[in-house]
């Protein structure tokens, strides 16, 4: 899976560069996030601008990251969630679990 990580204004931002998250690559995403958390990077923003499609295993990978971050008193949030992808979070009520920001500016402004 095509992932890039950047530290921006104190946040660990994970950019997902693939257009599609499904059972073929969601384990990569999950493992990557868990390694970040193990290394102490417990406040994570997953930037989903490129992602046009997510399936149940992709939602599961993000939820796994959320729970592990929370267990260490951190937080995993999302930004730039595309319309159809967002509707998957709504259908599963996961929009009540994750904080979902419009974009990275929105993250920084909301956390000042």
């Amino acid at each position: 899976m095509n992932l890039t990580q950047e530290k921006i204004s104190g946040f660990n931002v994970l950019f997902v560069k693939d257009g599609r998250i499904d059972a073929h690559n969601s384990a990569d995403l999950k493992d990557y996030i868990l390694r970040m958390i193990e290394q102490g990077e417990i406040n994570i923003i997953v930037q989903l601008e490129q992602v046009r499609f997510i399936d149940s295993s992709g939602l599961g990978a993000l939820l796994s990251g959320f729970k592990h971050a929370e267990a260490k008193s951190g937080k995993l949030s999302l930004s730039n969630v595309q319309k159809q992808v967002l509707s998957m979070f709504e259908l599963t009520r996961l929009n009540r679990v994750f904080e979902i920001y419009t974009d990275l500016n929105d993250v920084f402004e909301s956390n000042n």
Binding site: R20, D22, A23, H24, F53, D55, S56, S57, L59, G60, A61, L63, S64, Q84, S87, M88, L91, T92, R93, L94, V97
Partner: protein, 142 residues
């Protein structure tokens, strides 16, 4: 697709998840091409992509582990008023009726695939065949 148009796809894939993208994207294209569908075609395209992806993932995951050459067959049939998806696996099967709805107050990592299929489509059945099982999904196109 005009109302008289007839469209069919039949795909046989090895039990490897790298084929999910291909299967899903066939669904996506079909959704976008259904010009007579009165609802939101972008949403329909996503839903067909998702439902095909989830059903094929399950068929791959629960395929016959003893046969390294095992395959999954997916067929999609667009009729005038209805869309029918059939996914065939050669695994041990399961009882669809006993699969619970996810508990949204205590979200878990798994168990959302069949929920999506049931919620986004009109009917779902799972039956034993002579040499495997068939998941059959239907959606009215009106």
């Amino acid at each position: 697709m005009s109302s008289t148009a007839n469209f069919q796809v039949d795909v046989i894939i090895p039990t490897q998840t790298k084929y999910l993208d291909l299967i899903g994207s066939i669904g996506e294209h079909i959704g976008k091409d259904l010009e007579n569908f009165s609802g939101d075609r972008d949403a329909l395209a996503y839903h067909l992509n998702l439902v095909l992806t989830e059903a094929t993932t399950n068929a791959i995951k629960h395929s016959n582990a003893d046969n390294p050459k095992d395959t999954v067959r997916i067929s999609i049939d667009i009729q005038e008023q209805e869309l029918i998806i059939k996914v065939y696996d050669h695994g041990q099967g399961f009882d669809l009726e006993t699969v619970p709805k996810p508990d949204f107050d205590h979200p878990k990592e798994g168990g959302m695939g069949l929920f999506f299929i049931r919620t986004l489509m009109d009917s779902v059945t799972y039956k034993k065949l002579d040499d495997g099982n068939i998941l059959e999904i239907r959606k009215a196109l009106t």
